[in-house]
Amino acid sequence: MSEDKGKHVAEPAPEPADQPLSAEQARAAKADLETAGGAKEPSLVPAAAQGGITAERDSSPFRNFFAGSAMTSVLAVLLALIAGGLLIASTDKQVASSAAYLFGRPTDFLAAVWNAATQSYVALFQGAVFNPRAATVAGQFAPIMETLTIATPLITAGLGVALAFRAGLFNIGAQGQIIFAGIFAGWVGFALHLPMGLHLLLVLVAGIIGGAIWGGLVGLLKARTGAHEVILTIMFNYIALYFLRFLLTTPAFQRPGASNPISPVLDPSAIYPQIFGSQYRLHLGFILAIAATVLVWWLLNRSTLGFEFRAVGANPKAAQTAGINVSRATILVMAMAGGLAGMAGVAQVAGTEKVLTEGVAASFGFDAITVALLGRSSPWGTFAAGILFGAFRAGAVQMQVQTGTPIDIVLVVQSLIVLFIAAPPLVRAIFGLNPRRKKMATAATSPKAALPGGAA
């Protein structure tokens, strides 16, 4: 914060961004990014966005392994599941009754705790992955199909959030972007009547454009006025929701003859075909989600534009100095993030729901944030996290039916996972993996390692 005064110095005089970067310049820019040290401006979603919420470096191979992101993620998931299990057990009647004679027969108590937690989790697993008790083979595989169906919007919306993270932008607006995409795609789906194929394509394009407009508007406002994107996206979520509520009371959107806010059903030609036949809900949207993941991976790791995004995310000032047009990158990345969230909106209206209602976005937009965080903002990490959270969602329904454990437990587990992942030192401390206190303290608080040099 010390160099607030010197900010204007960093403004590049003319517009050097017009020429594409040569490989040499790109290398120089990258070096610039990494060595900026204390002069760096802290980016918004700093180390967190760039693959790990607190980046830590260490030399010992053993500690590298446990400090490594993969291991921390696994331990964090485990820890969150244990905490969730304890919460389930704490409200279980069997546990409560055996706690009365805890000191008489402690084994009863422990068994009850174990039963309460595992029964719920087994039900969760059966509802999410594979159900051996189903009568038919198709029924046995139904859970995994349901998981992938729910994962579809989570993945694409999560990719949108992750992409913005990588450019240093905190996109909380997936919810509103999904809603806007739903409005666009839904209207094209039920108001226009076009031939097979063309209609669906147009629905998809309209949805992506709708999301991109809503996301790009945030980028534009941020680039032009400096308004913070967190506040903008939160507000835009609500504006989109109320706008949708309003539209659903107008004749253009409300189903003729309906008194409740619901749109007509989309034309059959506007609906994603189901991939494995009509007994599963899984639709073409899932394939498109895979394609989107590949696309985002390519964009971030193989394209000049993606490099610019990452450079802006790592250090906007250095990026500006290196000739990257930060405003343009901000607008573009938000529009793309919105477009990706828009795909989630299309998956909802043209895939699973087939109508437009107030609840078109469910809570996918908010879940997408946790998905992107769990996936550490990498495309394939987000993909995996989306499937994991899809599994939680799908399994929780089954769990509630079988064991009476409320679905809300999923929210608890989900948020605990992200919290634990965000603080690797905490996870390691719980598992007793901190070899020496002093060293850990340095690792956790060294400004170079823990944050992008801002407060140094």
């Binding site: 109320y242 989900q414 603080a423």
Partner: protein, 435 residues
């Protein structure tokens, strides 16, 4: 710079305002926006205004003395008020050509006149062009109570350099704890205390993760909201639902009426006929304002939020100050949450806070990180909320959804700098690491 809610980056402000102007740049933005709004007002409220009489009731039944309702011809009032608006806008343009900025009260006056004109227009155009002004204002204050507490929590946290997105979670946690504790103990005051404690605990998690583990504050805030929503939802379904009589029938806080004073029209009900939480609200706004701007403690807090390094050099323990301030902020929000279950509604339901934590965040920004400003912004948003429900009853030309959208739209305009410039504490959102 940067994770603050709004602090605009100098390099990203529009070139015209950033170029070479040192000190306070006088921009065309405010005059243009005001002129635009005035023209819109003239067109819609004035020329296209309804040709009815709008009636505003002032006294309610038990008032000390009765005043007749104000009857306003909507069309004439629309014309007159929009001419006043045009005059105000013209004056800012005149001042701009002289090179001076408009005084701070001018946009405020503009907004007040605009709101009055809007109110007359909207009531005048309704099927039943009559509302009770007293009821409208009293209801607005009631709806604003949790917003005020929430935004005060935000002020306390952001002034010390920690972004608090978790206001929503703190409100919800406070509401839940107040309900369950008050139900079990049959004592609403213990419930109130427990709500403050719950808010403080949620805030401590925010403080712990963002200060000790240097996790991005926005991430922690967002995740905490989800966590509290999940926890309260889970416990509601398992514990409260199992025996609502025992766990979810909280003893409410009584409404304390001050004799005589409470029968003053309009002012009486909002100032002297409130629950303990309502009175606490006025006290809290005043206390936070005095604390932040008139005491040594407040100076330290603001120093930590603006320039932690300098504060550290002066011997202030930055991270401890942040930790306790954030905790205090959580307690304040927790009290606000108790309003839902101890005053407004007599039981807890899932998501009872319904996104009001985010409106509180908006109020905080619209009020420019100042307790008094946040208070009035919260009142304005409470007014919009209440007006929306009244308007649906009397049947007006404006869809209620747009009224509900208003707080969010206004906030977008505020952070985008279209309505004056709002700038947060410089170090808000940035973790402080010594060295």
């Amino acid at each position: 710079m940067s994770t603050t809610a709004t602090a605009p980056r100098p390099e990203s402000t529009t070139p015209s305002s950033a170029k070479g102007i040192s000190g306070k740049p006088v921009t065309w933005r405010t005059p243009i926006v005001l002129a635009f709004m005035a023209v819109v007002a003239l067109l819609i409220f004035g020329i296209l205004g309804p040709n009815q009489e709008a009636s505003f009731g002032i006294s309610s039944g038990g008032d000390f003395f009765q005043l007749p309702a104000i009857i306003v011809p909507a069309f004439a009032a629309g014309i007159i008020l929009s001419i006043i608006l045009l005059g105000l806008a013209g004056w800012t343009i005149y001042l701009k050509t002289k090179g001076t900025a408009a005084p701070a009260w001018l946009p405020v006056l503009f907004i007040v006149v605009f709101v009055v004109a809007f109110l007359i227009w909207v009531v005048g155009g309704a099927r039943t062009p009559s509302i009770s002004l007293a009821g409208l204002i009293a209801g607005s204050v009631t709806l604003a109570v949790p917003l005020v507490f929430g935004s005060l929590s935000g002020v306390l946290c952001e002034r010390v350099g920690v972004v608090n997105i978790a206001i929503e979670g703190q409100l919800l946690g406070g509401a839940f704890t107040a309900a369950i504790v008050s139900s079990i103990t049959k004592n609403p005051f213990i419930g109130l205390l427990a709500a403050a404690l719950a808010g403080a605990v949620i805030s401590m998690v925010l403080a712990l993760f963002s200060i000790k583990y240097v996790v991005n504050q926005i991430i922690v805030g967002v995740v905490l909201n989800v966590l509290v929503s999940g926890l309260t939802g889970f416990l509601f379904s398992t514990v409260m639902q199992s025996d609502p009589q025992k766990y979810n029938s909280p003893e409410g806080l009584p409404i304390v009426e001050i004799p005589l004073l409470s029968s003053i029209p309009i002012l009486g009900p909002i100032l002297f006929k409130q629950s303990v939480v309502g009175y606490l609200m006025y006290f809290a706004v005043f206390a936070v304002w005095v604390g932040l701007f008139k005491t040594k403690w407040g100076l330290r807090v603001r120093a930590v939020g603006e320039h932690p390094q300098a504060a550290d050099t002066m011997g202030i323990n930055v991270n401890a100050t942040r930790f306790w301030n954030v905790t205090l902020g959580g307690a304040v929000a927790g009290i606000g949450g108790s309003f839902f279950t101890l005053v407004a509604i007599d039981s807890f339901t899932k998501e009872i806070s319904g996104g009001r934590g985010f409106i509180a965040l908006a109020a905080l920004i619209f009020g420019r990180w100042n307790p008094i400003g946040a208070f009035f912004a919260a009142l304005l948003f409470g007014f919009a909320d209440n007006l929306q429900s009244i308007l649906t009853i009397i049947g007006t030309p404006v869809p209620s959804q747009f009224m509900a959208m208003l707080p969010y739209l206004v906030t977008v305009l505020a952070v985008a700098g279209l309505v004056g410039k709002s700038r947060g504490p410089a170090a808000s959102g940035i973790p402080y690491v010594k060295g």
